[in-house]
Symmetry: D2
Subunit: 322 residues, 4 copies
């Protein structure tokens, strides 16, 4: 867009932080945030969007080729076998004398819960000592989150909408540092023939993952500069009453961040003020190709986190069902 944007200032931040707040909206004890927008009618409607009968995975493979390079101490997952087919072949397994020839393989995984395709839980982000709905940061200790844990999202089923920004702009991908403004979101809805409704899971594609995933160390994808949402999208997100938002970037918002000396300021509004479910490092390319082919940018969405009590994030294999 070539239009002038409102200047991004600390005053704007404070204004949006206040105007977008959902504190108390669903009760003082609420820990589900914008998931409350998903009422039964939303789920009923979502199911009607299943037309051709296909399901598309939105998960980046969870392995050593992931984007983590040590920022925030995060490393890519480590998958280890604890029983193998070769042990079976060497007749060294416990059941090697089974008269029916039984053998097995088994495995473990060590992962950072936010190292790949993931949901942030509301206990992931604090501002001035509190998280969403005013719960104190002291609820999240070395033993886990007593408030704001991912277990508050046992199910995430809704209508999904894909806003494929680079496709709308006739480009392969946005550039690091390039912000997405509310006008871009509106333009995408219009050109892609889709509207955003209450309870939606809105998937915003920048092309950043596709552009960088094969570069050495992902070319700075993780914690580096990236395309993403401008702080000024906060009001748009809030007004649409969406349930969740996910992108194919490391951190959802544009980087370098728009306010000097700050880190991920939009997160403060999305997670702390709104209680919005935010997804990152999503693989939206397969879905984007499919939507471009059939021209349909809405679908049923199913993507619950793993039920890990006290966790502040979770991997998932999100499904777009068309």
């Amino acid at each position: 867009m070539t239009t002038e944007h409102r200047e991004i200032t600390f005053e704007l931040f404070h204004e949006l932080y206040k105007s977008c707040s959902n504190w108390g909206r669903w009760g003082e004890d609420d820990q589900r945030g914008t998931l409350n927008h998903i009422t039964p009618d939303v789920i009923q409607n979502a199911a009607t969007l299943v037309r051709s009968g296909k399901a598309i995975s939105l998960q980046l493979p969870l392995d050593g080729n992931g984007p983590q390079t040590g920022a925030f101490g995060r490393v890519n997952p480590v998958h280890q076998m604890v029983a193998t087919g070769t042990d079976h072949l060497a007749h060294t397994q416990t059941y090697s004398s089974d008269p029916l020839g039984w053998g097995f393989a088994d495995d473990s995984l060590f992962l950072f819960l936010q190292g790949g395709t993931q949901w942030d839980a509301l206990g992931h982000i604090f501002r001035d000592g509190v998280m969403y709905n005013g719960f104190g940061a002291e609820e999240v200790t070395a033993t886990g989150a007593k408030k704001g844990g991912v277990e508050n999202f046992p199910t995430v089923v809704s209508r999904g909408v894909l806003l494929d920004i680079p496709r709308v702009k006739g480009r392969d991908h946005l550039e690091p540092g390039e912000a997405i403004y509310p006008e871009d979101l509106d333009e995408a809805c219009e050109k892609l023939g889709v509207s955003v409704k209450r309870g939606d899971v809105v998937l915003i594609r920048t092309g950043d993952m596709k552009a960088r995933k094969d570069l050495p160390e992902w070319g700075g994808y993780s914690a580096g500069d990236s395309p993403g949402l401008s702080l000024s999208c906060a009001q748009w997100i809030h007004d649409k009453n969406i349930a969740a938002l996910a992108t194919d970037t490391w951190g959802a918002e544009v980087r370098p961040n728009e306010l000097p000396d700050t880190f991920q300021p939009l997160h403060l509004i999305m997670l702390v003020s709104m209680g919005l479910l935010v997804g990152e490092i999503w693989q939206l390319d397969d879905l984007a190709d499919d939507c471009a082919a059939d021209g349909i940018y809405e679908f049923m969405f199913v993507g619950p986190p793993l039920h890990v009590p006290g966790a502040v994030g979770s991997p998932l294999n999100p499904q777009a069902i068309k």
Copy 2:
């Protein structure tokens, strides 16, 4: 059921292993097995089962209170925080001088992939040196599964059916050692007013999890005696052309196992011969209560594994959508 059952013998095993085989059915290179039963029409139909607009999680919480007690080396998952709210409060985090008061929490998880609610991948079980479709056990080494990995199941969306066996029998739960026979499955379908169709995900509840999960060390739930499927169900499963089967027990089949000196013989038929997707340690109690309340035992099912390349099993948060 009080009817006489066919005697469970090694001859029967060999007969069923042969008659239930899907090797080559979907090509020599197939690694998806019975997921091939899920054609687009199956997914389209599944979506029509969403009526009241509610989603129910079928995952047992994935934490230190799980059923693992060391069998097969498996331990319950270890969840660890790598950034905390208390660090934020103590102003010790990297962004402690953020002008907007930014803070965060982050975490990791170490888990056995089959330690809680999970899918078996087809590379999990071997017989005489091979897995489903004849792939050699040497494909599964200490570096992971080159064949039969869980990445072959990127999406699992279908119709789900719950067969609540104890409810049909007017009991709280089946007993350890108590087998479920094909007649029991048919009886459940009839009494619950549901039929099993091609491509279905069939959930078989025994009540075993509910009965033992609060006992010390789960009362032998893991790798001990348990209710479950008789070997004689193999033909029923095969003939129904179902896509997947899951239970609320540790190992799906009745234990002690029905053939002397064998370990989990039905697994050999289900995974190696059929290529069936098998789920274990599923929390079916919430769903069972809901189905009992509305009398509807069919629903849309969405339950993909995590996309962990080369893994032979995966945790998941399965969703029943009604």
Copy 3:
């Protein structure tokens, strides 16, 4: 001992906490605590104690059979292979075509640093917000210990002394709840013909490990009642100017603890006030048998922690060299 002991009161605690303090003794920045007692002459003398030329390991095997049962979230270590001989045999390894027939095995370990035979670092224990020498507890965050880390103990070489309390008393082991008083330590020195000197590593055997290690879940060894040091030993320890102390119990001090509603009060004096190096879960039985056989209860001791920067504890394989 049947003598009357001084009553263990909160007043006594406060008195000892003050009288045993080493804060500032080796400078305001000191993080080595009582290791400062090990001067070159101590090491020179220690080497002269090597007579018969034998070395004895004091480490409990670090594996799944260890004492941890979940207290403080600690679990026994998980050892996993990441390359195996069976993979080599199946010709599936990277170098399977090596003309010289090369193959290899490799492995990983996940462990709680204080789960087995270990040293406590000084950053392990706090009192009222501070650790040894007054460093603030905020130095120990989710990213590790900036003060009081185990890296401050790069070497631990000194004279070692074994005080085998049950042997002195003609018993197999002390009982849970049975306290060791200063008089018992003096009695042991006298009967075993050994004196305790500046810089010593004093090993105090209770027989508790031997008595319980083969019981199911170690019979409550970990975090349960146990024999151990009375709070009243603090002054004895301080006056002897020893460098370190280790026992064959879970927590060094007698349990139940001697002051109501407190947890491990002697730790506060030993670690926070004195800056004493404390070892727990040591396997002293082999050494005890050897000392009983030759009547020599002093030896050269070498037992550095692993150099894990920022860790508050470390496993080790301590060596008694006679």
Copy 4:
């Protein structure tokens, strides 16, 4: 050295593999290999080398700054806190109401056992299906090593000798690809005034760690080209009857390897044929500086592995005591 070296050929390998063999030397069941050279007199003599009373650590810090970059799946260790000082300050710990103000910190470590300063166990390397002394590779499965595990080395106490090759040659460090020949070892002994004796732990410094440890990703230190021992050193090592050998490189031998299409051929002779204890990634710089200062290149050495049953390698904090 500028002398002509014997040509390194496959014939030489086979000749050395045979001539250096210790199979059967200490019995058919022996799993200690060259540690058998450490007899009591060796330990007695070693203790006499303690003169100035100082101990020097030879361990590289075991943390995320280590040399691992993914070769063989190895990653640097992950240290995680499970209890923190900040939790204590926030009064969120279990014992937050302790009348004496008790608080604590605790931590865990996930590490590749050969990821930093380490000993190879004899089960680490195979040749044509067997390890040292002819034990079959099938002894090392996904559940660990039944033969050749590191638990066979409960103590490692002996005389240590440092051969500081670059210092002898008046250089800072050897170059990647630069081989050390027997003549170089002899030259070092002569110029440094030290002889190598039966039972010794011989530390061979190349300067490679110091030269590369601060480069991005250690400049290819791990699994890349490096200075190291020529295959032709095998006979020298064998004839000296040393107990162990350790270097400051990733893999002890010169890389690229000297025989075409082979990987680490000297390992086959050292570990499989000889049963030699081999250490890698040792930090020898502090010791080298000390030896250069006092001109004494022999010392007491104490460096047992951790007692991890069934492990094929182990980290350690080796101690040179002078």
